[in-house]
Homo-oligomer: 315 residues x 2
């Protein structure tokens, strides 16, 4: 469930584009107006605003936002204004660059998007980067990380509900053997996790839990300094995206000095997907609402933009 | 260039469906009529005929073809009648089954289809098989074959013409080092071949040829009993699909006892794509036309269907 609040009557996109153009002019930028418009338009509407802006002024709205805004506010507005597929392509590209490298970021997109959405990100990658997404992921990762991340990011998982219980039992038994032997890097583990449908994986992990008395996640907590193992665990945890994103938000806000990078990414990528559920989960787990936690940890236009996206206040 | 001959005036699909229904009735099947209709309709038209057949008779045309026809003729008609994406999905599925297992078949589809067509095959896989295509490929292949085939079949290559010459030089140098060391199974070789765009790969292999005096293919001919090496070579040769398919046809026809499996697959999958070019290449390479070679090696309705698909005679 989306947390986005769109006004009952949305202005014509040319009108929105004109207002944005005005917001950039004169005595400093009018950030309030930018938030008022962009934080309250859905993906289709934002696309129309960008098209109208280009048609009316011969300029790219994203470039103007980039040059008018700064810091965390700039990042959240830019990420948000992109279409979901462009945004995911952008985030993966960023995650493959040396200074912003993040196996975690690649894994998160691979494991929490629907099959179609993940494929759309791969399609959206070609035009701006003149390469394929998996080409950059494979080039910029090494060893076991590559072996795990490339199949995850290139998967087009079956999304039906059918579960093969024989296969679930076999998978669970196999995983347990390998984990007992600490053979975490076994290629069959990667095969199972990167190719099976999410329904099949859930059945497999439930069987694991029922038969071995622990969740598979717990059995993978052997060594908390092993970055590969952390990533593998997270790939499994992402089967429950709501809980995954709650955790990312919790850790981002709890940090000494908020992790704006994580906070921005989760809010910009989930606002239009399942932010209402993530908020419920956050409240349940932390006894404080996400609105209050964000308000306590951020400030200024950045805070206002985040709060608007998570549905605080009116459109 | 397609070899398909479609009549100037194509009957209404309901009329075609009715004729096909008639062809199945009475004193044995009328194979001539089946060829006359199906071998002269393009993918869109065949789809309409299937839809019309289902609407008019409440039956599946493919099932009726399956029960009315036999042997090689049955196989070529069935494969041909499928849409290209369904057909590729079917062929990959078949190639992952124990009795019809074929790493070669998986590689051919992975390496000769456009990025979009390969993805469409993955989409078309979900509904009939209730799994993902890569799930079956990964499950049914082992070791180095899996390491090569899974990235190939899940690739969504960039298809622009841009070439990065620095990268081509680096790639060529790297490939030469590994090949000199007989490290054919090196994961970087697989990464380069499975992720780079075809334009980039051509530039890389041209650089290899220019700098080392041999084509990379020649340097990979070390050991002709090594099935993995053969597959790797073929994956490279598939960059030039016309030459690859000419070779498959040549070997299929030259065999003591034609290889109908290969012959059928190439004709059914390429008739609507580039069969005219493959025919030119075949003629150039074998000093006999493909029509004559096929007529000399096959017979009956199977021969007639193949010849119709490669554009022999009139629509």
């Amino acid at each position: 469930m989306s947390s986005l609040k769109v006004p009952a009557s949305v202005p014509d996109p040319y009108e929105d584009a004109e207002q944005l153009k005005k917001a950039f002019k004169g005595w400093g930028t009018n950030e309030e107006l930018i938030i008022q418009i962009l934080a309250h338009r859905n993906a289709r509407q934002r696309k129309l605003i960008r098209d109208s802006y280009a048609a009316a002024y011969g300029e790219d709205l994203l470039k103007d936002l980039d040059s008018e805004l700064t810091s965390d506010f700039q990042r959240v507005v830019l990420l948000w204004t992109l279409s979901p597929a462009e945004r995911d392509a952008y985030l993966v590209n960023e995650a493959t660059k040396r200074l912003t490298a993040s196996n975690w970021g690649i894994m998160e997109i691979a494991c929490t998007r629907s099959s179609d959405d993940l494929f759309k990100a791969r399609q959206a990658y070609h035009a701006p980067y003149k390469k394929s997404l998996e080409e950059d992921v494979a080039y910029h990762t090494v060893g076991d990380f590559r072996k795990l991340l490339v199949p995850l990011i290139t998967a087009f998982r079956y999304e039906g509900d059918e579960v093969n219980m024989t296969l679930a039992r076999k998978g669970s038994k196999y995983l347990h053997e390998k984990i007992s032997d600490k053979a975490y890097h076994d290629e069959e583990i990667i095969r199972i996790i990167s190719t099976r449908s999410k329904a099949q994986l859930s059945a497999t992990f439930n069987h694991y839990h029922d038969h071995h008395g622990h969740e598979i996640i717990k059995d993978l907590e052997a060594d908390d300094d092993d970055e590969y193992l952390k990533l593998l665990r997270a790939a499994i945890e992402c089967l429950k995206p709501r809980e995954h994103f709650e955790k990312v938000l919790r850790l981002a806000i709890k940090k000494l000095g908020t992790d704006e990078w994580d906070l921005t990414r989760v809010v910009a990528t989930r606002a239009e997907v399942d932010m209402e559920r993530i908020k419920e989960e956050y409240h349940r787990r932390n006894s404080v609402t996400l609105d209050r936690a964000i308000a306590g940890d951020t400030s200024g236009d950045y805070e206002k933009m985040l709060l608007a996206l998570i549905g605080h206040g009116d459109a």
